[in-house]
Amino acid sequence: MDIKKVTSVVKKKKADFPESLIHEITDASERHELKAKELELLVDEIKKEYERAGVENGEAVGTVAAQSVGEPGTQMTMRTFHYAGVAELNVTLGLPRLIEIVDARKKISTPTMTIYFEENYGTDEEFVRKIANQIGKIVFNDVLKDFNVNYADMSMTVEIDEEKVKEKRLEYDSIIAKIEKAFKKVVINKNLLSFEPTISESKHAIRELRLLADKVHDLQISGVKNIGKVVISKEDVEWVIHTEGSNLGAVLKMEGVDKTRTTTNDIHEIEKILGIEAARNSIIHEAQSTMEEQGLTVDVRHIMLVADMMTSDGTVKSIGRHGISGEKASVLARASFEETGKHLLRASIRGEIDYLTGIIENIIIGQPIPLGTGSVGVIMKARD
């Protein structure tokens, strides 16, 4: 039974099913090899169930979603480091991660990217390793065999290890080019390089030498900005790169990278590069995986509502006084949340009017809430 057939049956029965449901029905009909008559009966049954399970008008959906996402928080661990999935990287998990997501933090504690490759490239280990070494941060020290600092005659010599250069699939010449660009006084003799510090008159010559030594030691010779350690692992049949640090913009431009699957856990980056809808999906995905990892089940719809609320204005806003709660229209609502004095004083000079349409305001003045039972009024029909 293909999806067109199912759609036509659904339309015939005048059932207003969402797409996901139609897909489910199609899958199930293929699994069980349904006949046409059975499909019709099934659609009837599902239509009944769908109508029974609908959300009611006036339902305080926001509060229920907030509670459903917030309540399992007490059951989540605070312990942030646990080698999640890839046993080599530290990723923030549990409650601290959820708080990061909900706060829309610009700088997260463990940004990480997962890079997938296209069809033919993904199975080629060599290629993936090469890209990994291109992306991952490699410092000069990683390709050195010998590193000598001679304080007596104020000089420094290093020896490049050709083996290591080959191992890391780097270009020898590009390394030399970078060195020459970074340091002025360098003498190159095949694999041996010697550096001379700019000796100023001051007695801090030794410190100068030390600083130069550190600079040479930590010079980055390969890697994309913001990306640190890189790890390759095999998932099913293809090779996948996990990185510490995130730079989606640069990575997506690289050849061979599967732009449809490569992702990062930094939501602001996704918003910047891929747009607000992608950011919304990323929020949902991150929150879900955080909860799942802890073993908690929370229905997607609640997380979707939180994500939609955070992104409804076109940018990712945080939950809290700098984001959604601080931009409410009602003075009383803002004042009773945080920063009481500031909101009241500002309201007085702006001459703000609080129309009392929200929940907190009505609780403060003691009137029924405009939600649920309070969203309907009773009118009496005159007797005539």
Partner: protein, 870 residues
């Protein structure tokens, strides 16, 4: 409750002008003295009787109402010199910076002014806030020359909280006021000031309103002394300095002294408004405690908003310790008689309940079901006493309201704090019982997260018919069996219910017919036909199930063997229910447990909440009868393993420790191969953790192989009643590796964990691997490491509750205005669409099947079975 109820439609905010303050005041306050020697309040002093009365018995002079009714009246103080209002100091600074001191216009060009005014106009139309535009204007208007009158502008800085400094010269408050008066009215809106309700010069105070006596009441201590409120103390300070300033100015004192006094007056007024203003030392009591002035009264968790407005203490509530009662329904709560006689329910007297009400009044306040008060139509409340009973009974007629005691069947709201989700507050039916605790059915403990180690819970009694009706139809416990968090049941059997059900229905359990009838009677089930032979447990359980229930699933005790024997399962784990009869399989957590009860789930969804409640009540009672007949206990003998097993476990652990030693040697000899991306040390740690973890698991498996289903602790672990096989492993075989911050124990002493070890020791024991089992007992070192690991857990929990509580508060605050509208969209209170269809499919998670609309596979199977039966 007569009369028309007014509805507040909006609240407007604005600034008070000095004229307004003088107009609304009842008297000018001049003297700093409060009371005279006789204890009477002084005229024109702070406690002037025209400002209001707090003493019940005295009458207010300004409005003539009695003690409790008068809300108080404002007074005013004429300040000798203007004083800047500390809350507006920043705004004043920004205004002075953005306007010209000569012509008073804002320092923007005409085109800029027009552009900004238009932007502000559109924002007003869209009902958005103009804060960003105003901020921009402030930054742009920091120019050096006025574009309108070509005057130069000097830099204006703000010093400490309230001093405005121009260049090097400190502006006095009068000068500030003059400059603010100069500002052009057309430019007000550009600086965020609404000209209809505020003028910038009003931000510098010339008149100070004095709050009524009711706002700052005095307290009479036990010693008889009158202690004044903090605000009164502050006002006294202000008045004193004001007086001195006035005298000094009139007497022509030198500049310096006048300025000093002026500054002091400014300080007092600043701390009067906000005692925690930055840059100003807080005013303190003689005892050293800082005063609590106006800003502190409003802010924070204990302030007006959060503690008196958004949440209040209420009447008609009760709180005591809870205790379990398996014999009441899940919908009910056992209320102690003492409480039932104290909290009342108001009932309108009508022709139809007159007799009943008369009986209640006859019983009086002491005998339970009685009445405490009677309210006459003129709203006078009469207390019911034995003496007054007669007269009340005579006068009783429709239109009176009788406040009667709480009776069986009344609906109340029951709640346990912290109320993290809506199931923490549910409606229960009252059942009045003796003794002094609230009684709760055990199944309803998970949603409240209540245990009986001393927890207290709150009860609220509804006062109006509407609220009672709402609670009865929406908030009863049975409506909340399915949780909105994931669409599955959250109320169900726990602990003994599950082990009892297992013992009842497992293969081989048989009961004599007379005991079966006793069980049926206890569960309130209808009596079946006698069989005249012993019943199996499965047959007894089948009496609970509705006749058209068909289900197949694997129970919790399923061992997940590679080849499932289905109905021939040795563990009796393949549950088949056909037409309401339990054909095979034992009942345990998967049947009607709190989080995974499948049978409970389908009964709620197919037959409704009433049936589900009956099922749950009967099932739990049946399970308890089952366990009572057979008896159930546990002891340390349950974790006893034979010597042979102990030897095997010992061998296994020794091997593991040897392996760890090998790894450490390899590490020291540089033979260890590092994992990609990790240092050698990290690799070593990971490998050691792996080896030790495996050894604990394997030793657990060895111990498990010697446990059978006749072991009660095992029954509890496998059926999901309480505990897990890990607990048994730790008691019988080996406790395992303790961990702090995700890794083995590392810190403690210098370069090692404890001084008992050598420096740099990395062995299993030295880093917290507990070799012994709980039964064997831990040696002192192991005990210490176990304490470290355990302590981390406790600290974790403490921090976690605070952080997650704050997150939940923020989430609830941000999302609370969202609701589903009649067109299916989710909008907030401004009408902005957040989702065009709730959850993209319009399905309520509480009514869904674990997230999906329906379990399509099951539907297809059932459909096919039904058509085959035809």
């Amino acid at each position: 409750m007569q009369g028309i109820l007014k509805k507040i439609s909006q609240i407007n905010f604005g600034l008070l002008s000095p004229e307004n303050i003088r107009k609304m005041s009842v008297t000018k306050i001049v003297t700093p003295d409060t009371y005279d020697e006789d204890g009477y309040p002084i005229e024109a002093g702070l406690m002037d009787p025209r400002l209001g009365v707090i003493d019940p018995g005295l009458r207010c002079r300004s409005c003539g109402s009695k003690g409790g009714d008068c809300q108080g009246h404002f007074g005013h103080i004429n300040l000798a010199r203007p004083v800047i209002h500390v809350g507006f100091a920043d705004t004043i600074h920004k205004i002075l910076r953005s306007t010209c001191s000569n012509c008073g216009r804002v320092l923007l060009t005409e085109s800029e002014i027009a552009e900004y005014k238009e932007k502000i106009g559109t924002k007003h139309q869209n009902e958005e806030s103009i804060n960003d535009i105003v901020k921009e204007i402030y930054t742009v208007a920091r120019r050096d020359k006025c574009p309108h009158c070509d005057e130069d502008k000097e830099e204006i800085k703000i010093d400490k909280p309230v001093s405005i400094v121009e260049g090097n010269y400190k502006l006095t408050s009068s000068e500030v006021r003059e400059r603010l008066e100069k500002v052009n009215e057309d430019d007000y809106i550009l600086m965020g000031i609404n000209p209809d309700v505020a003028k910038p010069e009003w931000m510098v105070l010339t008149v100070l309103p004095v709050p009524p006596v009711t706002v700052r009441p005095s307290i009479t201590l036990e010693t008889g002394e009158r202690s004044e409120d903090d605000l009164t103390h502050k006002l006294v300070d202000i008045l004193r300095i004001n007086q001195r300033l006035k005298e000094n100015m009139e007497a022509g004192a030198p500049q310096l002294i006048v300025e000093d006094l002026w500054e002091l007056l400014q300080y007092h007024v600043t701390t009067y408004f906000d005692n925690e203003a930055s840059g100003v030392p807080p005013a303190r009591h003689r005892s050293g405690r800082p005063l609590k002035t106006l800003a502190q009264r409003l802010k924070g968790k204990e302030g007006r908003f959060r503690s008196n407005l958004s949440g209040k203490r209420v009447n008609f509530s009760a709180r005591t310790v809870i205790s379990p009662d398996p014999n009441i329904s899940i919908n009910e709560v056992g209320v102690p008689e003492m409480i039932a006689k104290e909290v009342t329910v108001p009932v309108y007297v009508t022709d139809w309940n007159m007799e009943d009400m008369k009986e209640h009044i006859e019983n009086g306040p002491e005998i339970h079901p009685g009445a405490n008060y009677v309210i006459r139509p003129d709203e006078r409340k009469i207390r019911v006493y034995d003496e007054t009973k007669e007269s009340i009974l005579e006068k009783l007629e429709p239109g009176y309201v009788v406040e009667r005691h709480l009776m069986d069947g009344d609906i109340v709201l029951f709640n346990r704090q912290p109320s993290l989700h809506r199931m923490s507050m549910m409606a229960h039916e009252v059942k009045v019982l003796p003794y002094k605790t609230f009684r709760l059915n055990l199944c309803v403990c998970p949603p409240y997260n209540a245990d009986f180690d001393g927890d207290e819970m709150n009860m609220h009694v509804f006062q109006t018919e509407e609220s009672r009706a709402e609670a009865k139809s929406l908030m009863r416990v049975q409506e909340h069996i399915l949780s909105p968090r994931f669409g599955g049941p959250i109320i169900g059997g726990i602990h003994d219910h599950i082990s009892g059900a297992y013992l009842l229905t497992r293969e081989g359990s048989e009961f004599e017919e007379d005991y079966v009838y006793q069980m049926i009677k206890k569960s309130n089930l209808p009596f079946p036909e006698p069989k005249n032979k012993p019943w199996t447990g499965k047959e007894v359980f089948s009496l609970l199930l509705p006749d058209d229930l068909n289900m197949v699933y694997r129970a919790e005790i399923c061992r997940k063997c590679d080849e499932c024997l289905r109905q021939e399962c040795k563990n009796d784990a393949y549950v088949v229910i056909e037409d309401g009869q339990l054909i095979s399989g034992a009942i345990d957590e998967k049947a009607f447990g709190a989080f995974s009860g499948k049978i409970l789930d389908s009964i709620v969804k197919d037959y409704g909440t009433d049936k589900a409640r009956e099922f749950l009540d009967s099932a739990t009672k049946l399970a308890i009868s089952g366990i009572m007949k057979r008896g159930f206990t546990t002891s340390t003998a349950d974790e006893e393993i034979p010597q042979e097993a102990k030897e095997r476990i010992e061998e296994l652990l020794n091997m593991a420790e040897k392996r760890v030693e090998q790894l450490i040697e390899a590490y020291h000899n540089d033979e260890l191969e590092a994992l990609p991306g990790r240092s050698l040390r990290e690799t070593l740690e990971m490998k050691i953790m792996q080896v030790l973890g495996e050894s604990r698991d394997k030793s657990g498996e060895i111990a498990e192989s010697y446990f059978g289903m006749d072991n009660h602790a095992v029954i509890m672990a496998l059926t999901g009643a309480r505990g897990s096989m890990l607990n048994l492993t730790q008691i019988a075989a080996c406790v395992g590796q303790q961990s702090v911050r995700g890794g083995r124990i590392e810190r403690g002493y210098s370069k090692r964990t404890l001084p008992h070890f050598k420096e740099g020791e990395l062995g299993a024991k030295a880093s917290g691997f507990v070799h012994s089992s709980y039964k064997e007992g831990l040696d002192p070192l192991e005990f210490f490491f176990h304490a470290m690991g355990g302590r981390e857990g406790l600290v974790d929990t403490a921090i976690r509750t605070a952080q997650s509580g704050y997150m939940q508060r923020r989430l609830v605050n941000a999302l609370q205005d969202l609701s589903v509208q009649t067109d299916g969209t989710v909008r907030d209170n401004r009408g902005i669409i957040i989702q065009s269809k709730y959850g993209e499919d319009g399905v309520d998670p509480a009514k869904s099947d674990y997230g999906k609309v329906a379990d399509i596979d099951r539907m297809i199977e059932e459909m096919r079975i039904k058509s085959k039966a035809k």
